[in-house]
């Protein structure tokens, strides 16, 4: 059993989950993920790792509440325990000294991009970070990311903070201050990562995305996390989750990602209260 150190709603519908898992904290690297099972009847859900504390043996993730299983996670309180917290899984993000790195985070990916920003900075790169959200109230960890980066850009859909618009603004924003990235890394929802890849492709900016397919075992056994990269089938849990965003078959991936949407929300319609139908 793994003890919950902290679980709080950090912005509407996004939760910060800190779990005591010393063995995971000891080995985790930027870009890895963990598999979590909220209770004995729970699904195995992959969560990207957003931070860790080796000394205290804790690991932090940011997750969005979307269906029944994440709703269970969202109900956890400090001191509760969960039966499964296994990792770190997947290959870590390759951190090299490449020059200038542009990191793009949205949704839960604002959290998981943080250790990547930190690692690229420590490796001697210039790191710029783009935070993207629907509205200002969905932004978090701005201070943390500003401190870790050489510069940050904020884009909100409604213009309540930073530039009004979407991912398509990135080239204009970074070129304005004279930056041409040698590498772009995107973490976030599938649509955001797809858009980043589409925007950077014509510019020839190498783009790595941290994919988030449905998984079960997460250790290279079941094959549900497969996706097409450059026309070849790859398995996100052992070949990834980082892939070249320009090579991914995004339509196929989006369809696979949605394949259990009806079942995902189904448990939310059920209630343990007998007077409900």
């Amino acid at each position: 059993m793994y003890r919950i150190v902290e679980r709080r709603m950090i912005v509407p519908n996004l939760h910060e989950l800190v779990v005591e898992a010393p063995a995971v904290a000891e080995s985790v690297k930027a870009g890895s993920f963990v598999i979590v099972r909220p209770d004995e009847h729970g699904e195995r859900i992959p969560l990207s790792v957003a931070d860790w504390d080796w000394f205290n043996g804790t690991v932090t993730s940011i997750f969005m509440q979307v269906g029944g299983s994440t709703a269970k996670l969202a109900r956890l309180k400090p001191g509760d325990t969960i039966p499964t917290y296994v990792g770190p899984l997947g290959r870590e993000t390759v951190i090299d000294k490449v020059g200038t790195v542009l990191c793009v985070g949205g949704c839960y990916g604002i959290g998981s991009i943080y250790p990547i920003v930190r690692a690229f900075r420590e490796a001697g790169n210039k790191v710029y970070t783009v935070l993207e959200a629907r509205s200002s109230y969905l932004l978090y960890w701005e201070d943390k990311l500003a401190q870790a980066s050489n510069g940050t850009f904020v884009i909100t859909r409604d213009g309540t903070k930073g530039r009004k618009g979407h991912i398509g603004l990135i080239p204009e924003m970074v070129q304005k201050i004279g930056v041409t990235p040698d590498l772009v890394i995107a973490n976030g929802c599938t649509f955001q990562m797809m858009r980043v890849s589409q925007v950077t492709k014509p510019l020839g900016w190498k783009t790595i995305v941290n994919m988030n397919p449905i998984m079960i075992d997460g250790t290279g056994m079941c094959g549900v996390c497969r996706l097409s990269v450059g026309g070849k089938t790859k398995f996100a849990c052992v070949d990834g989750p980082d892939f070249d965003g320009h090579q991914i078959d995004w339509n196929e991936f989006l369809a696979r990602r949605k394949s259990y949407n009806p079942e995902e929300v189904d448990p939310l319609r059920h209630s343990s209260c007998r007077s409900h139908f």
Binding site: M221, G223, V238
Partner: protein, 469 residues
């Protein structure tokens, strides 16, 4: 010891089974086991050969005539002890071993009639022991002070753990999933091997003093070399890896599953009880299962139980070449699985939402024998046809798990991705690492994994006791 001359009894006693029309609506075990009296009758068919062949047919070398004699004498307790001398998992082997290819294949009675039902008798003893609730702990050797780590709590790992703890070593198993048993838990369905039995066998090994950590992925949570700082020897039984697909167009459509995924959703994650359990499994009406092995049979029979209207098993050779156990083929046939034999899928077609809707196939005919000795299936030109399916399960095998090979330097890895071991000792290219089961062989059987475990345990014991303190 003058014995009356016994008439040879060729009449193999059938085992009671759930009726097909009942069992397709539940996930309970299909085969119900021998009652005591029938077990004694069946055991009494054994000729007690002076030079028994059956022992040699067993990958773990069970004293088969020995335990059968105990059953004849109704001394079931001694029979259990006899089996457990060499086999830690009799309830499992009695159910899932391909006895017809091993011990029963060489039984002398088989030459003229039906061989003794060795597997059913093994199962009988194991179930008798569980029913009696008197699980005996074997004699344990004094502690050696040597520490052994085992990667994976599947059939190979459990066998090694059992053997080495009895020999006095300190044994710790690291299991990646949240439950122990490996393929016995995630792969083989409840109706063929009830999970309570797997848990019972795991609890037995635990009761011997084996420590087990679940949710621990060796290679990721901690690398093998890091474990070697703490342990004197390691056995890698990490099991199956990535599923194979046919490499035909459309395999990444929704509704196309690997057998590993399909069975894991149902068995390990209990998807058949969704939404009581959170992991969903689709309940399509027309299911194609591609492949002809035991895993294909398991997948097809699972699809039947999940309420499919029609389940087709699509296999490119003929019925005779089906690699599955005959017993499982017959069970599937009884459960109304439709066998599309000599049929090769060449393309999967989907709708706009990305869900599979059709499968295009070719008819095959059998040609000259190939490397495997079976007649090679040859496509009949122009025989293409389309069939409607809303789910396709691909059960054509898998590679060995890649995590240990990827993260452990110095191991020799085969072209197919398996860890290379010395067949006599199970030792890898590194002196203190052994391996066995699917991580070496790819998709193989439970008993071959256990056989590998037995061999490795022996070699590990020699290493641990000779290498000095």
């Amino acid at each position: 010891m003058a014995e009356e001359k016994k008439k040879v009894d060729y009449n193999r006693r059938p085992m009671p089974k759930q009726n097909p029309w009942e069992r397709i609506r539940n996930f309970d075990e299909v085969a119900l086991g021998y009652p005591d009296a029938i077990a004694v009758e069946e055991a009494s068919r054994c000729l007690s050969c002076k030079k028994p062949q059956c022992n040699a047919g067993c990958p773990v070398g069970i004293d088969i005539p020995g335990f059968i004699k105990c059953i004849v004498e109704s001394d079931f307790g001694s029979g259990v002890r006899k089996i457990k001398e060499t086999n830690a998992l009799p309830a499992i082997c009695g159910r899932v071993c391909p006895q017809e290819e091993q011990c029963e294949k060489v039984c002398v009675l088989g030459k003229k009639g039906k061989p003794v039902a060795i597997g059913r008798l093994e199962r009988f003893l194991a179930d008798w022991e569980a029913r009696e609730g008197k699980i005996e702990i074997p004699d344990m050797a004094p502690k050696t002070g040597k520490k052994v780590a085992i990667v994976g709590a599947g059939p190979a790992g459990i066998t090694v753990a059992n053997d080495l703890i009895i020999l006095g070593h300190d044994v710790t198993i690291f299991e990646a999933l949240h439950e122990c048993g490996g393929v016995l838990i995630y792969g083989i369905p409840e109706f063929r091997l009830p999970k309570a039995i797997v848990n019972r066998e795991v609890d037995y090994v635990r009761s011997l003093g084996v420590k087990i950590y679940t949710d621990y992925v060796v290679g990721k949570t901690r690398k093998v070399d890091k474990l070697l700082e703490e342990f004197d020897a390691i056995f890698v039984g990490a099991g199956a890896g990535l599923p194979w697909f046919m490499e035909i167009p459309g395999e990444n459509l929704n509704g196309v599953y690997s057998a590993n995924e399909y069975l894991t959703r149902v068995n390990l994650m209990k998807g058949f009880r969704f939404p009581e359990y959170d992991t969903p499994v689709k309940r399509p009406s027309r299911v194609a299962v591609i492949g002809g092995g035991n895993v294909a049979m398991d997948s097809a029979r699972t699809a039947v139980r999940l309420g499919a209207d029609e389940v087709h098993l699509v296999y490119r050779r003929s019925r005779q070449e089906l690699p599955a156990r005959l017993e499982e083929v017959e069970n599937a046939e009884e459960e109304s699985v439709i066998f599309d034999l000599l049929t090769l899928p060449i393309r999967l077609i989907g709708n706009e939402q990305g869900w599979v809707t059709h499968m295009e196939c070719l008819k095959m005919e059998l040609g000259e024998p190939d490397d495997s000795g079976r007649r090679r299936p040859v496509p009949i030109e122009g025989s293409n046809f389309l069939v409607d399916f809303d789910a396709v399960v691909c059960a054509i095998g898998n590679s060995p798990n890649p995590l240990i090979p990827m993260t452990t330097p110095g191991l020799e890895i085969s072209k197919k991705g398996g860890i290379v071991t010395d067949p006599v000792t199970g030792r890898t290219a590194r002196p203190n690492i052994w391996a066995g089961g699917d991580v070496v062989r790819g998709a193989a059987t439970v008993i071959s994994a256990m056989g590998d475990g037995r061999i490795a345990a022996k070699s590990m014991h020699q290493y641990l006791t000779n290498s000095g303190l």
